[in-house]
């Protein structure tokens, strides 16, 4: 007699718990999205506000109440800042410095890491120990000594002087060594049996095997060189040679009154890096999380 009603009650209980579980899931999900959106507003808000200022020529950012949302949209700030302060020249400067830095970093970290990973020779562990120790000992005066050294080489004011101190980093060497260690020894041996020279083995057989490492270095260094402003300011005596990030500090001083120009210039300078990041996210994330394991 009681059996069916019990069955029903168990069923309805089950249905109820399923419903409440779904309800709970919806609540957690919405709380999650609200948190995510608030956080996104906090992280992206300043950029969106700057974009909004850059699209409204003549608006004073210090007006009270300050402008928040674009009430009108005009691109004159962009066209003006592009021409008046010779934006293409600074982009060109940045590209030269970045290309030089990338080429040197890639070549030097590949050639230095390869023997450390794949060759047997006396002193290998010593080289390795010295490299590790430089990562632990901090150098707070490096900037001063670099400036003196670049001066002795007669490279003050030159782009070579800008990139030389950061032409290779211990971090990149370790990263590249890690990648080379993943390449099987057989590949090198087969090249030797075929009588190929060391250079040929390196260029034809080994380098193509470490493309993921190359991608990570290129990305991290691209960001580093694009954003670098301090060392170029120290080394380059002519502001006309400045890369974009350094020029921005200089322009900020010169055109402090023209908010729209500065906002537009800043947006233009950060746009390339944000785009590169968005399109290469996957490699980039692998690179930085590899830093923990390394």
């Amino acid at each position: 007699m009681n059996q069916p009603s019990m069955g029903r009650s168990v069923q309805s209980l089950e249905r109820e718990s399923r419903r409440s579980r779904r309800l709970r899931r919806i609540v957690t999900l919405s709380v999650g999205y609200v948190l995510l959106l608030l956080l996104a507003l906090f992280m992206m808000g300043p950029f969106l506000w700057l974009l909004s200022v850059s699209l409204m020529p003549g608006k004073n950012v210090f007006a009270f109440p300050p402008p928040i949302f674009p009430t009108f949209v005009k691109l004159t700030n962009y066209t003006e800042v592009w021409g008046f302060i010779n934006f293409p020249k600074y982009i060109g400067n940045t590209l030269i410095i970045t290309a030089l830095g990338l080429a040197l970093n890639l070549a030097l970290s590949l050639t230095t890491a390869y023997p450390l990973a794949k060759m047997r020779f006396k002193g290998r562990s010593l080289v390795f120990a010295i490299l590790v120790s430089t990562m632990i000992i901090p150098s707070s005066t490096a900037l001063v000594v670099h400036y003196l050294t670049i001066g002795w080489f007669g490279l003050i004011g030159s782009y070579i002087g800008v990139v030389l101190p950061s032409a290779v980093s211990v971090f990149n060497i370790f990263l590249m060594r890690q990648t080379f260690m993943g390449v099987p020894d057989d590949i090198r041996d087969s090249g030797k049996i075929d009588g190929a020279s060391e250079v040929r083995i390196f260029l034809r057989l080994m380098v193509p095997m470490v493309k993921p490492g190359i991608a990570v270095i290129l990305l991290l260094e691209f960001m580093a060189y694009w954003n670098n402003f301090l060392w170029p300011i120290v080394v380059l005596d002519d502001p006309g040679k400045y890369p974009l990030a350094a020029a921005l500090t200089y322009l900020n001083g010169q055109f402090a009154y023209n908010f729209g120009w500065i906002a537009a210039g800043t947006i233009l300078s950060v746009l390339p890096i944000i785009l590169v990041f968005l399109f290469t996210q996957r490699y980039y994330m692998e690179g930085i999380s590899g830093a923990v394991k390394g």
Binding site: F62, M119, L164, A167, M223, I273, V292
Partner: protein
Amino acid sequence: MRRRTLASDALPAWSFMAPGLLVIGVFVLFPILYSIPLALTNYSVLGETDFVGLDNFVKAFKDDSFIASLRNSMTYVIVVPVLQLLSILMAILVNSRIPGIKAFRAAYYIPVVTSMVAVALMWNWLLSQNGLVNYILLELGIIHEKIGWLSTSSTALYVLMFITLWKGLGYYMMLYLAGLQAIPTDLYEAAIVDGASAAQRVRHITIPLLRPYVFFCSLISLMGAIRVFDEMFVLTNGGPGNATLTSSLYIYQEGITKLNYGYASALGLIVSVIVGVVSIVVFRVNQKGGVNPY
């Protein structure tokens, strides 16, 4: 056989490494070593260079600006626990597979890839007397009169910490996310089967397995905080007064602006010793927990 390869690899190995090691030698090792003799001289752009013994060090500890800068650098360490805790919470928040989560992760990362110059410019406007931050805080009734956040001695250093925090959150979030995703899911499943609550799972699985990441991130964040430079260089130049003068900025001002190479080297050595001691202490504390980062 082994001996033969050992002998045959030495020449190619050293030839490959020579350019890279040369750059490391000149720009990484040499600055560390050269700053020691340099610190014992009065080398500067003016006058003759003499050996002055420990005079620079005696002068440093009587130099009010240097003492203030050390105090500010140490105070800056406050940002580390806050930054790490919030990054871990953010990583937990974005460690899910709900739709759109990748876009949120990317959005939180954008401040990391943006140059400090651009970041400084935005926040400088936002935080000024008539800026948006004051407007919002006034509207919400949190403050009752406008505050010049960066021009007030009592707030300036903390506001810079806030900018460090804002720019760094995404970076550490991604590192912790990598850590969270490395935790095998069957551990959680087993814990659920055993009837562990969500809090217990965090306490007994997430926290212990995230420990190496917490150690690594705290260490790099700590080193970064003690040697913080960019934020004050672009935003306050140490002011108002010495309120945001950090040791790295003071070394820069002495060495690069005033060209007192000898004195700047001595200051750099003092800071290096402090940073070295701090990192050894952190390593020791951590070794008790049995975690080895390298």
